[in-house]
């Protein structure tokens, strides 16, 4: 029995080393000088080169702080939009009776599996017609859909969560004279905090990592978000700025990593309750 458990633990440790190696290698490489990246493959830098970070930060015509600011702005707005609009819809689905509720709920579940790439062309045309593509605030197409509860995953997550809140609390509030709006405000909203936090964390990580939409909608360098800016490294300079490119790659993952450290328990619970993908 003991031998078995030792074998199991060793197998897990070996697997973990393999799985984490690319991350360790990435961090190590971000501290290597250019010629060392080209010639050696070890994860540990021989000549420690922290200079890659300031070099990468200012490598493009606009410095990276701007891209981080842009990404933060987009992610922040998406978080607010998702929390608000998805909770409103979820409350209606979970608690209120109204005509056609079944139909709408079915459609909501249907959109869960709808690949977002299918809609990118007509949405782009629509947003362009409205004059929202480009301009001084090019983030409307990235943010607005989230104020309209476009992420059915979160609606579903919150419906499941609200169903777990005892109905007696609603009834009690109604007897105390609460309208449906009052029930939402005084019962559901305060009790939904865990679901809201989960939504916020996943919204952040998905938006921070999202590339497709940001690539489609952003065309002005100073408006770029972090992932779009990262692609500029291999567009403009070929392979002669590998160190700075790795340094900025590491920095770009840092916020997600910090979220992971702070909320890993919640993240794991979150995918358990709803099957959300990371």
């Amino acid at each position: 029995m003991n031998v078995k458990s030792v074998a199991r633990t060793s197998a897990l440790v070996v697997l973990l080393v393999i799985v984490l190696y690319p991350l360790v290698w990435m961090v190590g490489t971000s501290f290597k000088p250019q010629d060392e990246i080209m010639s050696t493959v070890s994860a540990i830098p021989k000549s420690f080169t922290p200079g890659n970070y300031p070099d990468g930060w200012t490598h493009l015509d606009v410095n990276f702080g701007r891209f981080f600011l842009n990404s933060t702005l987009v992610a922040g707005l998406v978080i607010i939009g998702n929390m608000l609009s998805c909770l409103l819809a979820a409350f209606a689905f979970a608690r209120l009776r109204f005509p056609l509720r079944g139909l709408w709920f079915g459609l909501m579940i249907g959109t869960l599996l709808l690949p977002s790439h299918v809609l990118i062309v007509p949405q782009f045309i629509l947003f362009k017609t409205f004059g929202w593509v480009g301009g001084p605030f090019p983030y409307t197409p990235l943010v607005l859909p989230h104020f309209l509860a476009i992420d059915a995953f979160f609606v579903f997550l919150m419906v499941q969560f609200i169903r777990g809140i005892p109905r007696e609390l609603d009834e009690a509030a109604k007897i105390d004279g609460c309208s449906p709006y009052g029930v939402f405000r005084h019962v559901i909203l305060p009790l939904s905090r865990p679901a809201l936090v989960t939504t916020a964390i996943f919204s952040f990580i998905w938006t921070w990592n999202d590339f497709f939409r940001q690539l489609v909608y952003l065309s002005d360098l100073s408006k770029y978000t972090v992932p779009v800016a990262l692609t500029q490294f291999f567009d403009s300079t070929g392979s002669n700025a590998l160190g700075p490119m790795f340094a900025m790659s590491v920095l770009s993952l840092l916020p997600v990593f910090l979220f992971f450290l702070a909320f890993q328990r919640l993240l794991v619970q979150g995918i358990n309750t709803s099957g959300l993908k990371g």
Binding site: P22, L23, L84, A92, H117, P145, S179, T231, G275
Partner: protein, 321 residues
């Protein structure tokens, strides 16, 4: 919470009963008030754009010509796609290959590690979290950049191979191996389905294993007779989600091939080709036709999965009926 619990007697007071009709209507109105943002999204951002794209798929629309000059060209986009565009078929094959090979391997890795972890007593939480980490980071541009470099000619992967005397190559840049490189990146993110498997494994009653052990069933028999059937709903759930997810791979293919889908279309994932035609060449009509075929294909595959699921997915509450 500032509410006070009222006794249930209050609910049956005559006053509440006589006003029954009115709150019902009020609730219906409230329902639609709360649903308004979602309904606006459903119609404005999903349903109507879908219909627009269906219409555009029968036109020669590109973003540069004004909408008034858009010409109806019937099925020409679809005909071109299927008969006159070899890259289209490359994209279909690349995507199918990716989804059909990487998804089962990813699920197998997820299940294997989940089984190992399920028996582990100490440090499960830490292991689980660390195995899950790649799922959070793997979809990013940064990781795709790392991947392209690890599987480079001078990359870390070749160095590992060299230890075993296997000659290396530029994996990410060779037509035969570039897609496999992307598959490994996909499989590497097995943590999310693993966490779901772990939760499923916790639901399997231990008495089943005890009873099987008493009957003389070994660990392998127990796995096939107990674990797999009891886990089949979770396997099915992961299979549907991961398959659909697999069809939509874009970021890694874009980064590894520098936006081209190369070398020789070997990483031309469907969504990447859609992007190239729609936003590289501005052939929005053609891209719309591609999007509709994609939608129908993904829908069909989902239906097929659900249809076959009836034969192998075992729901334990069926026994109780």
């Amino acid at each position: 919470m500032t509410l006070t619990r009222t006794s249930p007697v209050a609910a049956s007071q005559p006053e509440a009963a006589t006003r029954r009709g009115k709150p019902k209507r009020r609730e219906a109105t409230a329902g639609y008030v709360f649903l308004t943002p979602w309904l606006l999204g459903l119609f404005g951002i999903t349903a109507i754009p879908m219909l627009i794209s269906l219409y555009l798929s029968f036109t020669n629309y590109d973003i540069l010509t004004p909408l008034s000059e858009v010409k109806w060209i019937g099925l020409a986009n679809y005909r071109n796609m299927f008969t006159a565009d070899p890259s289209y078929w490359h994209a279909v094959l690349v995507t199918l290959k990716f989804a059909l090979i990487a998804t089962p391997l990813k699920l197998a890795a997820a299940l294997g590690v989940a089984l190992l972890l399920n028996r582990e007593r100490r440090g499960t939480g830490l292991f689980r979290a660390l195995f899950y980490l790649p799922s959070l980071l793997g979809g990013s541009v940064a990781l795709a950049i790392v991947w392209a470099n690890i599987f480079n000619r001078a990359g870390a992967f070749n160095a590992v191979l060299a230890i075993f005397g296997i000659p290396g190559r530029g994996w990410a840049t060779s037509p035969e191996w570039a897609l496999e490189t992307l598959m490994v990146l996909g499989i590497w993110q097995f943590g999310a389905p693993m966490v779901i498997f772990l939760a499923g494994l916790k639901q399997v009653p231990t008495e089943l294993y005890e009873a099987a052990a008493v009957d003389g069933a070994g660990p392998i028999r127990q796995f096939f007779k107990i674990t797999l059937p009891m886990l089949s709903p979770v396997i099915f759930f992961n299979l549907v989600l991961e398959t659909i997810h697999g069809f939509q791979g874009f970021t890694a293919a874009f980064v590894v091939s520098n936006g081209t889908g190369g070398p020789v279309d070997s990483t031309l994932m469907y969504t990447l080709y859609l992007y190239i035609r729609g936003f590289g060449n501005y052939e929005m009509g053609y891209a719309s036709a591609m999007a509709w075929v994609f939608l129908i294909a993904v829908g069909l595959i989902t239906v097929v999965l659900f249809a076959t699921g009836r034969f192998w997915v075992h729901y334990s509450d069926e026994d109780e009926r």
